[in-house]
């Protein structure tokens, strides 16, 4: 049961990371990155590391997202298509 949950969480993490790279809309990409960070904090909690889980949830899911959203707001929202 434990291993199945870990494998599922890993699959979700990889999927959201691929989505974050793949999207052209940078705001949606940032939200996908926040989802990845949140799942990573859940993963740390299941591996008996609550300290790292709290730090990851605070820094990764909140402050990084806010910084990226502020940066996107002051620049371009859509990624430029090559060629």
């Amino acid at each position: 049961m434990f291993e199945i949950a870990l494998i599922l969480l890993s699959a979700f993490m990889i999927a959201s990371s691929i989505i974050a790279v793949w999207f052209k809309d940078l705001l949606a990409s940032t939200i996908a990155l926040a989802v990845m960070s949140l799942i990573l904090s859940l993963y740390f909690y299941m591996l008996h590391a609550p300290d790292v889980a709290i730090a990851e949830a605070g820094v990764g899911a909140c402050i990084t997202t806010a910084l990226l959203v502020i940066a996107i707001k002051n620049t371009e929202r859509m990624e430029e298509v090559e060629e």
């Binding site: 300290d51 806010a66 502020i70």
Partner: protein, 151 residues
């Protein structure tokens, strides 16, 4: 942002700050510590910046005062370490064990814990917490201010 977001942010802000102080103060008893509690407190200030705009937050907390707050945290850390060097054998020595302030030694094994214990750990936790709150909040505030007009 809309009035709904502003009202909810203003309502929920004190609770997040109190939870951050709880995580910092109980760092030697429960999971968490200075960095984690500081990240939670900084995220509360970041929530205010996102909801109200950086100019309105700057009226209450300038980035100079946040930076001074952070520097005081770092200074307290180093001063506690040097006191350990002078009063006992080595740098950052835990010289408060056995003293009346923060010095109660807990019984062995798993127990609920005593708040008045931990030696220099609560002081260092508070120092690192001040450092992280001031640092992360001032970085986000400066970055939001540099971007031009908000709201």
């Amino acid at each position: 942002m809309t009035p709904v977001v502003r009202t909810i942010a203003a309502l929920i802000f004190p609770f997040i700050i109190i939870f951050s102080f709880y995580v910092i103060m109980h760092g030697h008893l429960t999971p968490g510590g200075g960095f984690q509690g500081g990240a939670i407190g900084a995220s509360a200030i970041v929530m205010l910046i996102v909801a109200y705009g950086a100019r309105n937050v700057k009226k209450k907390a300038k980035e100079e005062s946040l930076s001074i707050f952070e520097s005081i945290g770092g200074l307290v850390f180093v001063i506690v370490g040097i006191i350990g060097f002078v009063a006992a054998s080595s740098f950052l020595y835990n010289f408060l064990v056995g003293e009346p302030l923060f010095g109660t030694i807990p019984p062995f094994g798993s127990n609920p814990g005593i708040l008045n214990s931990g030696g220099i750990l609560p002081i260092l936790n508070i120092a690192v917490g001040m450092k992280v709150i001031g640092g992360l909040a001032s970085v986000v505030l400066v970055m939001a201010l540099a971007g031009g007009d908000e709201e």
